[in-house]
Every structure is written in C-alpha cells, then in structure tokens.
C-alpha cells in the first residue's frame, strides 16, 4: 500500500474556495505529463497525480500542477468578466455588420 501511495502525488483544495472546473481544466492540460484523478472528500477536492514522465514527479509535479490551477483560476475570472463582451463582439462581427453588407 505504501508503495502504491508513493507512486502518486496528492494535492488537495478546499472545495468551498476552489472551483472544480478550474481543476478539471488544469488536469486536462496535464495530460501527457501526469494523469490526474479528482475526488471530493470531507469538503476538499483531492487530486491524485500519477506521473507519465519519469522526469516530472514529486514536488516538481506538485508545483507544476499548482501553476496550472493558478492559471485556470485566473482564466475563470477573466471569462466571468469578459464573456458578455465576447458575445457582443461576435454578434457585431457576424450579426450587425453582416446585416449591413
């Protein structure tokens, strides 16, 4: 059992503060470097990272994953604030402007 636990890195987050979507996006970007299994237990999201490449493991893998999560959290914030504007721009490009031609 201890051998098995040593083969992966665990990173957990407070589920009330961390969005699951950002974790899933970060896990997707990790494909090829590590597999990420996300479970929820006792109000925490538990991410088990199994390295796919021998050169990325342990603290390096943990640090890399945390960077990915940080980036995804920022992307979520940006999307929340700009999604409406993106819709306006696309509507202008293919709605109003198209109608004027």
């Amino acid at each position: 059992m201890s051998d098995l636990s040593a083969s992966y890195t665990v990173v957990d987050f407070n589920a009330s503060m961390q969005s699951l979507g950002a974790l899933q996006e970060a896990a997707y970007r990790l494909i090829g470097q590590a597999a990420c299994q996300i479970d929820e237990a006792n109000g925490r999201y538990v991410c088990r990272l199994s390295p796919s490449q021998p050169q990325l493991h342990g603290d390096d893998l943990r640090s890399h994953f945390l960077n990915l999560v940080t980036d995804e959290n920022l992307r979520e914030k940006v999307n929340r604030e700009t999604d409406r504007l993106r819709d306006v721009i696309v509507a202008l490009a293919f709605g109003a402007l198209a109608a004027e031609e």
Binding site: Q33, L74, V78, N79, T82, L85, V88, A93
Partner: protein, 484 residues
Amino acid sequence: MAGFASPNAFSPETSALQLLPIRFERLGADRFLVGNIVGDMAEMTAVELDRLCSLDLTPGDGLYERAFEKLFVGSIDQRAQQQLLALRLRSRLSFLRAATPLHLFVVTLRCEHSCPYCQVSRQSQDRVRYDMDQATASKALDIALSAPAPLIKIEFQGGEPLLNFELIRWIVGAAKQRAVPLGKQLQFVIATNLALLNDDVLDFCGEHDVLFSTSLDGPRDLHNKNRPRRGQNSYELAVAGIASIKERLGPDRVGALMTTTEASLDRVEDIVDEYVAQRLDGIFLRPLSPYGFAIKTKQFHKYGAQEWLQFWKRGLRYILEINKSGHHFPEFYSALMLRRMLSDEPIGYVDLRSPAGIGLGALVYNYDGTVFASDEARMLAEMGDRSFELGNVREHSYRDLVLSDTLVSAVADSLTQTAPQCSSCVFEPNCGADPVYHHATQNDVLGIKPLSEFCARQMGVITHLFELLEHSPEDAAVLRGWAS
C-alpha cells in the same frame, strides 16, 4: 493669472476601463504570453498580468498603453474597441465567404519514383487502372466550377500527374471553356517530380499559364536517398526541370517543396543552400505527415515535434542571415504564420483555419471519382481509412459534398474556438483545426491537444517568431517583410 490645469486633469479615470476578452499562456515562472481574440500578443510578468486582470493601470505607467494598444482593455463608455475587434474577427474569418477555391485532381496514382515516405501510396507505373478517365474528370470539373469561390485553383496531383498528361491537357481546355459563362477565374498547377518534363509539356504550360510545383529535398545525395527511382537520377531530373521551366516560362513559374526526413535533420543549411543555388524564391521547411508509406515504412515515427522544431529554428536562423545579406528568401511556413500574426488577412492555407479547411478550403477528386475532404483525407483512404470520403463525382453535386454529414460533423467537431485547451489558448487565433491529422494520429478529429504534435509544433513556431519580433530588431525587420 491664467494657469494650466494639473496633468491629472487630463487623465482618464481608470475606473472607466473594462477588461476585453484576453487569453494567456505561461512561458516560464514569471513570463506570460497574453493575447486578444484576434491574435495580438504581448509578453508580461506575473505581476503585470495580475495588474491587467484587476485593471490596476495608470496612464503613463507603460502597461496601460500596452494594454490599450493590444486591445486588452477598453473604455466602458466607448464601443470603438469592440467594433474594431469585431471588424478584425470578421476579416480573419472571411475565407468562409469564398468557399472551396482549391480543387485537386488526382489524374493518376501511378508514379515512377519509389519514395519510402510517399504519403499518397503510389502505384507502380504499369497499372492503367489507376488513371482518371475523361468522363470522371468532366464530372469533377463541373463540381469544381460550381464552388462559390470566384477564383478556382485546379491542382493536378498524383502519383506523378505527367504520366497522364493527356488528361491534364483536356481538363485545362474544358475548364477554360466552361469557366467563361460562369464568370470564374482559373489557376492551374501541376505538382510533379519533373522527371517526365518535356518540350510538349513546357509548350502547353507556357501557352495556358500552368504553374509547376515540384519536390526538392536538398542536395543530390539527400534528395536521391529520399526519392529513389530507377537510374538514381531524381535530383538531376528535378534540377534540370526547374532550370528548363525558369528559362522557358519565367523565373516565377515553378516552386518547390521539401519534406523533412530523419536524414534531413542535421543538414538544414545544405538544404537551404540547394534552394538558393537553384534560384528558388524561398523554402518551406515542411515536416512529414502521418499518411501512406510514411507510416508503413515507419519514416513518420523517426523524429518528433521537438526535433523538427530544432531543425526549423536552425534553418530559420540560417535563412534570416541570408536575408540580412540582401537576398529576399522567405521560409514559407514562417511567412504564413507571420501573416496570421501581423495581419487580419484571411490566408489560403487550409491547416491554419478554424472552421477547418477540409472541404470548405479544398476538395480532392481521386482517380476513380471518389471525392475527399483534403489531400490528406485521400492519403488516409489509400491506407484503408475512408473516414473523410464525401461522395462520388457521378452521384453528388458540390452542395451534396460540402453539406454531407461527414464533412459537417468533422468541421463542427473540430472547432478550436470551443475545444478544451484551445478555447483559452493564446495561440488559437493564429492556429487552426486539423481534423484529418488528429484523426490519423489520435483517432479523434478534435484531438487531445496536450498530446498533439501539431499543437506542439504550432506553439513552438509561434512562440519563436513572437520572440524574434519582440527581442531581435534586425530579425524582426526581415520577418515583417515576409508577412506583407
């Protein structure tokens, strides 16, 4: 006494700013590439990115000006930035308005070469059943001329198309006749190894304004190793053909493509020198594609995206120095990417589009009348995978083909604008969907992008070009010249 208002009186309120849709990618611990939805990019530190996202910007601080210039922020009470982004987005996607300008006629699958990396799975020379017949060509021509694009480019492919030159002659004549009442303009290109070039072919192509595209993999030993034929004289015939076309038809009537094999990887300077020596107008440092004999003979798996990127970067450095000496000699893949990065002009290259260029950018009429969504799609079909077969010239119209479930599904399912990772990727506005490649390599038209070599190459190329544009003024001056 009259006085001037303080400088603060002229400053816009920072609270009047709003963040526009942006994307970013982490390049290092404290380095980010930030972009807008039409592909303009800027490099930022983590602190700068945080300040941008929280609109902590002050006129005169530098970041405020960069953010405005790159359309990362706008004024809440002005729509100019949104309208500008909309206009630019519309322009970048305007290739959709002139659908299917390129039509490839596979006039024969026969070839007298036996290249181990052949991506079309050529057949031996004596199998007449692999030639397209006139009735099939006529039907294909009707489909090509019913495409919406005002300029129809017909490219003759093989095998070696000059083995069925009589059909090429017939198609060019018929196309010219049929195009007149339809008001279509025409361009013709023969993709040939030039081994069978003769005076008849040259006379005809001169008279009818037909261009040539050929293969030149580098110096004699490398080219002949990559492209064996009886007599081991592929190189000699190719360079003699290039010289004949230049002399008889003009210097701009022939272009060449190279294919990178494992043997090419440490010889990029030799390859470039060969192109310069043959007075070609540039070079396309092109990786192998995962189709045909390139897979069967395991050529495709002999190097990866990172090795190709090293080859391309070394070649680009060498080419940039040639340009700095006063010889305009672009690397064509960089030139395509630079046009995406530095202008909003739609480009014809089908792999750098989303919606994907299959069908909407090009149709391929195989020798037997089957129609495929791209040249790579027919390469896959020759390997037994007919996933992108759209129909047959005898049964289907242009409309049937482009509205077929096969094409609509492949295009819809591969949109990068909504794909995982791509939808938030800073490179996406300058990249494209390549459903046939991802189907061939991952059995998934969308592709799992963290595992995609196409994605790795695109990110590597765009990042490198961006860094040269930002940090190397002399290189940037050359690169900007290629984009125009």
